[in-house]
């Protein structure tokens, strides 16, 4: 269990012990699938010995119990049901893992995960994650700012956007073999260079103090907390700097419904449902925790400057 160095933070911000303990029980129960996916033993060791620091941007909302965050996931590479990612990811191998960095930058090439991320500089940040389906969770991610990882690659003046791709491994990811799948693999996402270099944007290797699980996007994923969850691409194998706005998967599937920016905005409905409220999970039978959605998922102070003058209704 990693030791989190505590600075002066309030009670409500510290993840309750119950959640860390609950994790042990959960791990035992999850069984074979989990054991197989934790074959990333190298990274587990790194994460434990690297002592993630308490990072900035710690939401004061109640953290979602790990059981909910790791059993209820949208990761169509494994299937379209919420239970598929944990149930059907047993074959997924997360080590070794390398990422292809390229495009409009000085240094390009394929780099191993252990070299890409400085495991001594890991931070734990508590972020809200808001799905476009109008539910949300609060998750303690472990990682680093994307800008710290990308800056050394020297993006040049033509780099206006950053494009990401998820791995394609049909033999390990059953959803990619599904005839009815709506996604044309690989899953693609993108950000403007300003969004990518924003300190909030995080490259994540762990959650709840442990190595990332396959269902959460192991071993490397993006978190962009002020946008709808589908922008937070998982299991990344490619990061490219481009001069053109990247084609993103959901935008290609349904351009009227999913835009490039996908900023959380209670004032702009999805064509078929309202985005004014969300269900904070987990709910219970007699209480579904419907809360008002906040502009930019509550990160307006930090990010609204990026969108000065942009018509957020037009550029949804």
């Amino acid at each position: 269990m990693s030791v989190v160095k505590r600075s002066i933070i309030s009670e409500s911000e510290v993840t309750p012990k119950e959640i860390y303990n609950e994790r042990r029980v959960f791990m035992k129960r999850a069984g074979a699938a989990l054991a197989a996916s934790l074959s990333g033993a190298v990274f587990a060791e790194d994460l434990r010995s690297s002592k993630p620091q308490v990072g900035p941007f710690r939401a004061t909302d109640n953290v979602t119990p790990k059981a909910a965050a790791t059993t209820y996931n949208n990761f169509y590479e494994f299937g379209m049901n919420k239970s598929d990612p944990i149930e059907r990811s047993g074959e997924f191998v997360t080590t070794p893992w390398s990422v292809n960095i390229g495009g409009e930058c000085e240094r390009t090439g394929t780099i191993g995960l252990e070299d890409l991320i400085d495991f001594n500089k890991l931070e734990e940040r508590i972020y809200r994650l808001r799905c476009v389906e109008a539910w949300s969770m609060v998750i303690p991610w472990v990682g680093v700012s994307l800008s710290d990882v990308l800056k050394p690659f020297g993006p040049n003046s033509k780099a206006k956007y950053v494009e990401f791709e998820t791995v394609v491994r049909k033999e390990q990811m059953p959803g990619q073999r599904d005839r009815y799948s709506v996604i044309d693999w690989p899953y693609r996402e993108g950000l403007t260079i300003a969004e990518a270099m924003h300190p909030l944007t995080m490259l994540v290797v762990g959650a709840y103090g442990e190595t990332l699980l396959p269902q959460n996007g192991a071993p490397l994923r993006l978190i962009v907390p002020w946008k709808y969850g589908f922008k937070s691409i998982k299991s990344i194998v490619s990061i490219r700097f481009t001069d053109r706005q990247p084609r993103t998967s959901w935008q290609e599937i349904a351009p009227r419904e999913y835009g490039f920016y996908a900023n959380v905005n209670p004032n702009v409905s999805h064509p078929r449902w309202s985005q004014a409220t969300e269900r904070r999970l987990p709910g219970s039978l007699f209480q579904s925790n419907v809360i008002d959605t906040q502009m930019f998922n509550g990160y307006a102070d930090q990010v609204e400057g990026l969108y000065k003058g942009l018509d957020l209704r037009k550029y949804y």
Partner: protein, 193 residues
């Protein structure tokens, strides 16, 4: 007692609950469960009429039982929406009813089913006479609206919707076949008499 069919969906709900699927998002789970079963019962009730007319007379009383069950699960589905998605906020209900096409058609289907539910008794049959049969043609309206409601809801894969659509096509074919068979039987009865 045919009405026991009302309880048929419950073991499925309990099973999913025990697997822990409801732990995260009960709103979505309950909504899906009640909606799925309402549609299944609706389609099942639509099969009973033609089967009865084609000669399988024991199917006939099932039409009412299955239809009423469908209406009850549809009401439950609507209730789950207002309870767990809207927290009984009537202002938001009005907004949703006015702005969201899939909710509008869903609500209209629910109204149609509710009207049929209220008039599924001998008293109504007597009072309405021949108009009762016309009124209950609302089932076809409900059927179409429900399929539209479902179609507009789909986010990821049309797989499940396509299966219900295929079932609907088969039921239409069945109804046409049964109508033809009934006509033939009536014709041959006339010839004999």
């Amino acid at each position: 007692m045919r009405w026991v069919v009302l309880l048929l969906p419950i073991p499925f709900a309990v099973y999913n609950y025990s697997l822990g699927f409801w732990l995260a998002d009960p709103a979505a789970e309950l909504s899906r469960w009640s909606g799925d079963w309402a549609l299944r019962f609706l389609l099942a009730s639509l099969v009973m009429g033609p089967l009865a007319r084609a000669g399988f007379k024991m199917c006939f009383p099932w039409r009412k039982v299955l239809g009423v069950t469908a209406a009850i699960y549809a009401l439950l589905h609507g209730f789950v929406f207002v309870w767990l998605y809207l927290s009984f906020d009537m202002g938001r209900l009005v907004t949703e009813l006015v702005e969201r096409p899939y909710i509008i058609v869903g609500a209209l289907a629910l109204v149609a089913l509710f009207i049929m539910l209220l008039t599924s008794n001998q008293y109504s049959r007597r009072k309405l006479g021949r108009r009762w049969l016309k009124l209950h043609q609302l089932v076809f309206v409900a059927w179409g609206l429900v399929m539209l409601h479902f179609f507009w809801l789909v986010r990821s894969s049309y797989d499940t919707w396509a299966k219900y659509f295929l079932a609907s096509i088969l039921i239409v074919i069945l109804r046409m076949w049964a109508a033809r068979k009934q006509k033939n039987r009536q014709a041959s009865k006339k010839l004999r008499s």
